[in-house]
Amino acid sequence: MTKKIKNNKFLSPGHNACAGCGQLSAAQAVMRGLNKDVIIANATGCLEVTTTAYPQSSWGLPWIHSLFENAAAVASGILAALAQKGDTKTKVIVQAGDGGTYDIGLGLISGMWERGENILYVCYDTEAYSNTGIQASGATPYGASTTTTPDGNASVGSTQRKKDMLAIALAHGVNYAAQSTAGFPDDITAKVKAALAVDGPSYLQILAPCIPGWKINNDEAVLMGKLAVATGLYPLLEYRNGKLSASSITVASRKVAVSEYLKNQGRFRHLKNKEIKIIQKLADDNLKKYRL
């Protein structure tokens, strides 16, 4: 039984994203959580490039793109201007990729959170710089082959561990922090609504499978989003006021081996048992860490 989802006019089709793009379908789910009183500040990246090729735009909400690393500060400025106008109704939302979030924009995000502003920050985590050709970012997981961490006779791909951005958000005392994946659009929508209902800063990070980046088929983004959760590598999580309030990992969690997730992705195809074990350990650790 398939439920027909009606997209709203905040993000129209006709954009230039790849067929089956996980980020665009996640963005649709975000849009379904909004009403029209919203202003969006978007970082440079796939979402921006594919939706605003002048003179066209997919956006039906007030939307601004300034630079790669400053969307958080631009959002602070928008909020300050709204405050001066006495507008407390309009919500301000940032959208950025993992590169704009984990790496180049991190200082500005920290500044925004310090200021305690009522802004929802949405990170679409493709686990690489998708827009510039799949270079590694601070969100790239161990073992992934990217164009700047290629696998080879002397390389397993990325040797870094994925940075724990959620923990960084929580360390800033954000009132709401959550994690979801493109495999669970309704979960995304629900979390957007929950975040907007909270007063103060909120952070939502969404795993967004990238067709060319992950070297998956264009009908597999949702499947990968589901497997990421089922393996425990990328659980659905929600923190309210610093406390874990919802998690896809429960005592009854069925454990799917990480190899199920890794084997369909070209970026992990080179991995041997030894590396797969390391990744399995990461998933196992998550099962303990995030069990509700």
Binding site: S66, A73, S76, G77, A80
Partner: protein, 392 residues
């Protein structure tokens, strides 16, 4: 109360002017010698004397981005910086102009690193001269105050950002008598900022700002920005007249000056043998020097971008020997003002004029009467065209 001169520190004079201009959003990050301006503005807010939102930023890059976001939401904004701060802002500075946002910012001009040096020169602003901002240069406290008020008028009318350059320490930390127009008086000249519908972020009329431009459209938008900036010369001249009428006392120093067209002011004889061209506070030092030298004239350039090349050329035609004296150098080329002036001259003018370039005052080196005398002596000699005037 009104129209009473106060002896004020330059930074305080600027801060008071900004308070009376009443921007909606201010954001800044501290850097010497800009600090006193933003500290004063924070204190006005803390004392309940000002209504603006004051956002503390964690870097200049963020401060510039915050005022960018606020300006895109239709608010009047202000920021100030210096030196490394401006360089750190560079990407945002370009973006603000490209987005056609009427941001006004003060640059308390300071040298750039390395080696690190906190004192005055114009290296900082020269690094972003091509960004698409109107660049004003103030020579004294009153001119700094006036230019900030004018800056908002120009920015909001032309949809172009404006930077007001004030020499770090020399203006920001010194005391002079100055008139600060009241908020009421400013408001008559500079009405509340109301951007037109569909040009700013507003849920009632959603627009996309900062779209992605392909080779099909990019060139034309840059051409349009260039043309608008060029054409703004006429608006600046006109608005300067309007300003002078609205602020008679504040512009008494310049008013009725035959040789002031808003873009430059000329001081000296009708036909000078020698013409000294400069920007900013160095002009005050030059004017002192020519008091005892009736054959020398001084040309103060107040608007550096858009560059009033043709207007400057008409003054240059009156002289024979011309010294372009500046506090910056495009390393490996020449002083940027000198290059701009030469680029704007007709070939015949270049042939008939002896123009030389003197780089002075870098990193806060005092610019002295002795140096000026040396420059005037050196000018007619046939030797190097570009010279650094250091210890004399």
């Amino acid at each position: 109360m009104n129209n009473k001169k106060q002896i004020l520190e330059g930074s305080r004079a600027i801060a008071l002017a900004i308070k009376n201009i009443s921007p909606a959003v201010i954001s800044a990050y501290p850097i010497t010698p800009q600090t006193h301006i933003v500290e004063d503005l924070a204190k006005f807010k803390a004392d309940g004397e000002a209504n603006y939102e004051y956002r503390r930023a964690e870097s200049e890059f963020a401060a510039a981005s915050i005022v960018l976001g606020a300006s895109a939401t239709g608010a009047r904004v202000y920021s100030a910086t210096s030196s490394q701060g401006l360089l750190l802002m560079t990407e945002v500075v370009y973006n603000i102009a490209g987005l056609r946002l009427p941001v006004v910012m003060t640059c308390a001009n300071r040298a750039v690193s390395g080696p690190i040096n906190i004192w005055n020169d114009h290296s900082d602003v020269m690094s972003i001269r091509d960004a698409g901002w109107i660049q004003l240069f103030a020579a004294d406290h009153q001119e700094a105050v006036n230019q900030h008020i004018l800056a908002y008028k120009l920015a909001e009318k032309l949809k172009l950002p404006v930077m007001v350059n004030v020499d770090g320490f020399i203006l920001t930390h010194s005391y002079e008598p100055v008139l600060i127009p009241t908020g009421q008086k400013i408001k008559k000249y500079l009405p509340t900022y109301r951007p037109s519908d569909g040009t700013y972020l507003n849920p009632k009329n959603p627009v996309t700002l900062g779209a992605f431009f392909t080779p099909d459209d990019y060139l034309e938008t840059r051409e349009a920005l260039h043309n608008d900036l060029r054409n703004s010369l006429e608006t600046i001249k006109k608005e300067y007249q309007v300003f002078q009428r609205a602020f008679r006392a504040e512009s008494a120093n310049d008013r009725n000056h035959k040789n002031d067209n808003g873009l430059w002011t000329y001081y000296g004889p009708a036909k000078p043998k020698t013409l000294l061209i400069a920007m900013g506070s160095a002009v005050g030092t030059l004017r002192e020097a020519i008091k005892s030298n009736p054959t020398v004239g001084v040309l103060k350039i107040k608007v550096y971008r858009p560059f009033p090349a043709a207007e400057i050329a008409t003054v240059m035609a009156r002289a024979k020997n011309i010294a372009v004296i500046e506090k910056a150098v495009s390393l490996g080329q020449a002083g940027p003002l000198y290059s701009d002036i030469k680029a704007g001259l007709k070939p015949t003018a270049i042939k008939n004029l002896n123009i030389k370039n003197y780089i002075v005052g870098l990193g806060g080196r005092d610019f002295t009467q002795k140096m000026i005398a040396a420059i005037i002596r050196d000018l007619p000699r046939k030797n190097e065209i570009i010279k650094f005037i250091g210890k004399i």
